[in-house]
Symmetry: D3
Subunit: 79 residues, 6 copies
């Protein structure tokens, strides 16, 4: 009876969206539940999946809020 918690930033996968869609959430739930079934033989019915969306301001990386961290990395990646 696994519990899978998926934490992601609250943002869209395309420029016109600001969060992940219901279809994407369903695909994540299906995908990770099947991993537990395939690898450990856990029945789908016994797996709970919880998706936690985290505002960009509330997610830190490199000692900075995510938006600032990405902005700093992007120029460095260019020639």
């Amino acid at each position: 009876m696994p519990i899978v918690t998926v934490q992601v930033t609250r943002e869209g996968t395309t420029a016109d969206r600001n969060s992940i869609t219901a279809e994407e959430k369903a695909a994540i739930i299906k995908g990770v539940s099947e991993v537990l079934l395939d690898v450990l033989n856990k029945p789908l019915e016994s797996t709970y999946v919880v998706i936690e969306e985290v505002d960009l301001d509330n997610w830190g990386w490199g000692g900075l809020p995510t938006a600032q961290y990405r902005a700093r990395r992007a120029p460095a990646a260019k020639p």
Copy 2:
């Protein structure tokens, strides 16, 4: 100094509500804190309780978002 985290779906206990009420939250906090007091002698003052409400779309069961999982189970339960 226990920490109790309670994760539940964000929905009401009656048809006219779409989330749990402040009274229900208070009853959960009181109830689980008293369990720790009764079983492990932990003073109420040392227990933190955090209630996390999770949107139905973000909670998966049976490889599906909760609403879909319930819809699929409901007919099967009927004669």
Copy 3:
């Protein structure tokens, strides 16, 4: 389908034990599951409970590891 996570320090409730007992764990599981049944009508079968025991060194309070925090508070509590 609630998930309840209970984090407690790894220590006994009496001087001759160094962890909580299987009976105490069962009582915690029963107690918190019944709170969710009583308050939110969640069937016992839909509630998962996970107990996490944390070494005293790994639990901080008052800016100190628990053992040191307790030692500092204890004398202060005496007349």
Copy 4:
């Protein structure tokens, strides 16, 4: 930069083992990381996966420790 936490009971997938194997852990890590890549375009390098193994005594279901819950369900499932 997703974080995926996978909580499972500490037990083997075959009768001669008492925990999941390093190969099974690696397959879980690979599988759930690829779900995030496929669904949300998250690069594998940005996903952290944490597997938490929980002792059977510490996992409750149906208001009971897991071993007791399974023992009670098993007979009921037979004719």
Copy 5:
């Protein structure tokens, strides 16, 4: 590659605010990431920080929702 999760109540540090500010979040992210760098030599780039803001109703202390607990403690603290 540490993950640091910071859970705080959703409220402002001054009377005219009802949540922590983006600047305060950035300072928390910077501060805890530097602790991991200083103590364990973990590069800033490898540390994720997730800040979870919890509504006052959803945080329990002393067996009560936070607002009630504070109200009960405040008078007792006065002569």
Copy 6:
């Protein structure tokens, strides 16, 4: 009343150790508690810190267990 959870791999900061030391844990507890005091004026007494040490096999990065991920990155970093 913040709760700070610090998840790190179970390994030493020097070659002769295989876990973080009690002194390092105390420094983490002190450091992150002071961040919450400095930034949000949270009294040290109201902050709980929980350190979770995760076996290398149980921590995934880049779709691989940590040891394999590091082994793969190390050669690439060299000229």
